[in-house]
Amino acid sequence: MSTTTIDGHEIHVDDEGFMTQYDEWSEDLGTVLAAQIGIEMSEEHWNAIRFLRRDFPENGETATLRRVATVGGIPTKQLFVLFPKKPATKMAYIAGLPKPRGCV
């Protein structure tokens, strides 16, 4: 496990840069992580990210795109608009969670 420093925060990350410690995350850090991948956070973005954060401890794994749509109530189309091209992994990155492991 390695650490990286982003905007003064020292965080534990995996080889690809996804955070590995749930508790090291904060919304401030989320904003910085989003900026790293070219996303400026709006309230709509936060709705999705907050769902992922709430869902992770309950579900034991990062929500898939389908779960964010069906359980989190944010339509799939909208997720592709908010987090273009690779919404599931982008959301996981910003939320400081591992990549989703589910297939669907």
Binding site: I6, V32, L65, T76, K86, A88, T89
Partner: protein
């Protein structure tokens, strides 16, 4: 926003247009053979890959409004169920096997075929119907799932998917 990071580790999301394309030909109408194409299409779209599905022959059952919600799974001819083949031919066995498979699929949160197609379309996927299959089955665009973009010939599909990686299922 100032991100004065000292070379942080940031995942690569391949923002520079990779141009990767995937073409999936769905030629089967069994419940169990409908899913591989749908799951792979969904996964590819989630990775930012432009994805086209072409429904042909028995695969038409996946987009035919009359059949798409009622695909079946049979043990017959499928040794992977590890049951005596004779059992599969008994009355009611296909219905039972279909019910079981649908239940297993639902339990892991995977949608039924029509809803799955909608999810693929919502993710930016393209659905195409095969001209020859439509002609053989005397079906028109209005008989097919509304999100199917058009009924096109095999050559049209090959043209549209120029440079794509291709899967035949």
């Amino acid at each position: 926003m100032s991100t004065t990071a000292t070379t942080p580790v940031v995942p690569s999301f391949g923002e520079d247009e990779s141009g990767r394309k995937l073409a999936i030909i769905c030629s089967k109408g069994n419940l169990d053979m409908a899913y591989p194409g749908l799951i792979l299409a969904n996964a590819a779209l989630g990775e930012g890959v432009e994805t086209h599905l072409f429904f042909t022959f028995w695969g038409f059952d996946m987009i035919n409004k009359k059949t798409m919600g009622d695909l079946k799974f049979t043990m017959l001819g499928n040794t992977a169920t590890h049951m005596p083949q004779g059992l599969g031919g008994l009355p009611g066995m296909t219905a039972m096997a279909t019910h079981q498979m649908k239940k297993s699929i639902e339990e892991i949160g995977v949608p039924e075929v029509p809803e799955f197609l909608q999810q693929i379309v919502d993710s930016g996927g393209h659905l195409w119907a095969c001209r020859m299959s439509a002609d053989m089955q005397h079906l028109e665009a209005e008989d097919l799932y509304d999100e199917v973009e058009a009924i096109i010939s095999a050559s049209d599909f090959i043209e549209k998917t120029d440079g794509a990686q291709l899967l035949f299922i």
